[in-house]
């Protein structure tokens, strides 16, 4: 009896010791869905842009940065400094419905009330260039570094335009490749959730590409302004990024 008591006590002490200093952790998935007029955006699928133009998209991607979860007490749990969200391969409805995801393990469990996120490459990182990074790093993409701007392309939206309704998208192109420190945007999105120990929570972001082109009561004239390829005139790049961050939300 005495031995049994001592064994139980030792076990309890051992368990107590091993659990000491071990934080309870779980996994957070950031899921991003691109939409067009509320429906999943499928690459190469035609969409009505306005009353006269149809478009399809071949690329929609962007950097996210300084992503953190905000605890109930206001303290932050950082998830990533920089990452890349890419919808370019979403050429089927099933893929578009699934969206683009990235997982972060070892996130302290507990109650959270919001998510902070930046769209683009923060100033400090934007002073680096793609050749500074090893293959596989999000910032190693040479297709997303603009030498002459000394900036990354923060968000890249490409597509083609059918202006005469003949079903051939050879009447123009969309090249909204937005970069430079001036177009960096960030926001805090309220999102109440609890991450259980060893559990998984999903943060379901969404952004509507059509809304990124909103201008006044309609949409940016993409025939007159098909590209944001001039750093000395950021009007349309800033408009696009303003719209993007405005529309960027969590699907509660």
């Amino acid at each position: 009896m005495k031995n049994t008591f001592l064994f139980a006590l030792t076990l309890l002490l051992a368990l107590g010791t091993t659990s000491c200093g071990k934080e309870k952790k779980g996994t957070v998935e950031l899921n991003f869905k691109a939409l067009y007029d509320g429906s999943p955006l499928v690459m190469m699928e035609p969409y009505a842009y306005n009353d006269t133009l149809d478009v399809f998209f071949t690329a929609f991607n962007f950097y996210i940065s300084d992503v953190s979860l905000v605890r109930e007490d206001g303290s932050e749990v950082p998830l990533t400094e920089i990452d890349f969200v890419d919808f370019d391969d979403m050429d089927a409805l099933s893929k578009a419905q699934e969206g683009f995801s990235m997982d972060f393990s070892e996130v302290p469990s507990g109650k959270y009330k919001a998510v902070r996120i930046g769209i683009g490459v923060p100033m400090m990182l934007n002073e680096t260039r793609s050749s500074d990074y090893p293959a596989g790093h999000p910032l190693a993409k040479d297709s997303h570094y603009w030498d002459a701007w000394e900036s990354y392309i923060f968000s890249m939206t490409s597509g083609k335009v059918d202006a005469n309704g003949d079903g051939v998208f050879d009447d123009g192109a969309i090249l909204y490749h937005c970069g430079s420190d001036e177009v960096y945007r960030s926001k805090e999105l309220p999102f109440v959730f609890e991450l259980d120990k060893n559990g998984k929570a999903v943060v379901p972001f969404k952004v509507d590409v059509h809304r990124c082109f909103e201008e006044g009561d309609g949409y940016i004239d993409i025939i007159a302004h098909p590209a944001t390829h001039t750093i000395d005139n950021l009007t349309w790049a800033m408009k696009f990024m303003d719209n993007m961050i405005e529309d960027f939300s969590i699907n509660d």
């Binding site: 071949t58 090893p134 040479d142 002459a148 192109a173 098909p226 750093i231 000395d232």
Partner: protein, 375 residues
């Protein structure tokens, strides 16, 4: 009583073991097998690759660290026609040093006069390529790439079994493999080691000593661009504030490598549908119709040595290439959007662009002894 009997039996058994054990015949042992290369010292010297200033880090596979001996072996193999069926074609047959490591043919010649369907790509700075080699990106690494030409029926038309046997029987190669990879016996020479050695050699083939590099990467104050070269530079990179047109070049040919890790339809083919490309290129690898007609954006370094141009070598001169991009791009649904608007460059602007492209010439690589034929 019972216990005493057990003890007695045990003692007798032990005695029997002691008495008879030495007279037992030992089991015949196999003769001591010694590899035919074990007497050759194996002391590989690690090779420290010098990455030029402004270049990205090179991703070197953990299972193929670079050594002086491995690179030397790779150099011999690169230049050895032993790899081909009839001993007529080596890697260097299509990647000649004097041709900027191309063969200056529209499509390359294989054994017995057989011809391929694509132009040989320049073997320069390939160690920095991270998203698939060949025009269609079908090989993930330099090692994977080197595996393919040996058994390609219109290139070397050989089998790896034959190549391995030839190398095992060779008077010199077994010792070189021993020194590079520490094998004990010639029988251990495999295709895996062959391609590792070739890849090591190719990773050393770095070109970064052009006029552009000296001026912009190394900030050499003695290097001056002419006005024409500078105008070409502005158009190539689309400099802010420049009154010159954006020639849209850098999107696919960004510095410092002047290529990138993506695949594009650059509008050289006139097709009605995406199924009409005579060579589907990337589409044949991904199985996606939208990738048909897309090819890797190759480096523009040393263009002066590497004519003809494009995946099928259709353009003899750089003037033709610039004309094509300026005035003759063909629409397709998957045409790269950067090329959707005609450039309409003037003749002088085309010349400026050409003059800038010439600044990407690094003659030292075609004279560098380290990359020359060792035979």
């Amino acid at each position: 009583m019972k216990q005493k009997s057990f003890l007695l039996l045990g003692a007798l058994g032990l005695l029997a073991l002691i008495v008879f054990a030495p007279s037992c015949k030992p089991e015949p042992q196999p003769p001591d097998v010694k590899g035919d290369l074990e007497d050759i010292p194996y002391d590989p010297q690690p090779y420290e690759l010098q990455i030029p200033q402004g270049f990205p880090p090179m991703d070197i596979p953990a299972d193929n660290p670079m050594t002086v001996e491995g690179i030397e072996l790779g150099r011999f193999l690169f230049y050895d026609s032993l790899l081909s069926l009839d001993y007529t074609v080596s890697c260097a047959s299509c990647h000649l040093q004097a041709g900027g490591f191309t063969d200056n043919k529209a499509v390359s010649d294989g054994v017995m006069g057989l011809q391929g369907t694509r132009s040989a790509m320049a073997v320069m700075n390939l160690g920095f390529v991270t998203a698939g080699l060949f025009w269609d990106g079908r090989a993930a690494t330099l090692e994977d790439q080197a595996l393919q030409p040996v058994e390609n029926p219109v290139e070397m038309a050989n089998t790896w079994e034959v190549v391995e046997e030839r190398l095992r029987q060779h008077p010199d190669y077994p010792a070189m493999f021993r020194k590079a990879f520490g094998i004990s016996d010639s029988k251990e020479i495999t295709r895996d080691l062959v391609v590792k050695a070739i890849a090591q050699f190719e990773r050393t083939m770095i070109t970064a000593n052009s006029k552009f590099d000296r001026k912009f990467l190394y900030n050499d104050p003695t290097v001056e661009f002419t006005d024409s070269e500078y105008r070409g530079f502005e158009m190539f990179f689309d400099f802010p504030g420049s009154a010159l047109p954006d020639a849209q070049c850098f999107h696919c040919h960004n510095a410092p490598l002047f290529g990138n890790n993506d695949f594009f339809n650059n509008g050289i083919e006139e097709v009605t549908t995406l199924n009409d490309f005579p060579d589907p290129g990337r589409g044949a690898i991904t199985g996606k119709t939208f990738d048909n007609g897309k090819f890797r954006a190759p480096t523009l370094r040393n263009l002066v040595f590497t004519a003809p141009y494009m995946h099928d070598g259709r353009f003899e001169t750089l003037e033709e290439v610039i004309d094509q991009y300026s005035d003759h791009v063909h629409f397709a649904d998957n045409l790269d959007e950067n090329l959707s608007f005609p450039l309409n460059l003037s003749e002088s602007q085309k010349q400026d662009l050409l003059n800038f492209l010439y600044t990407l010439t690094d003659s030292s690589i075609i004279l560098d002894e380290r990359f020359s034929n060792p035979f």
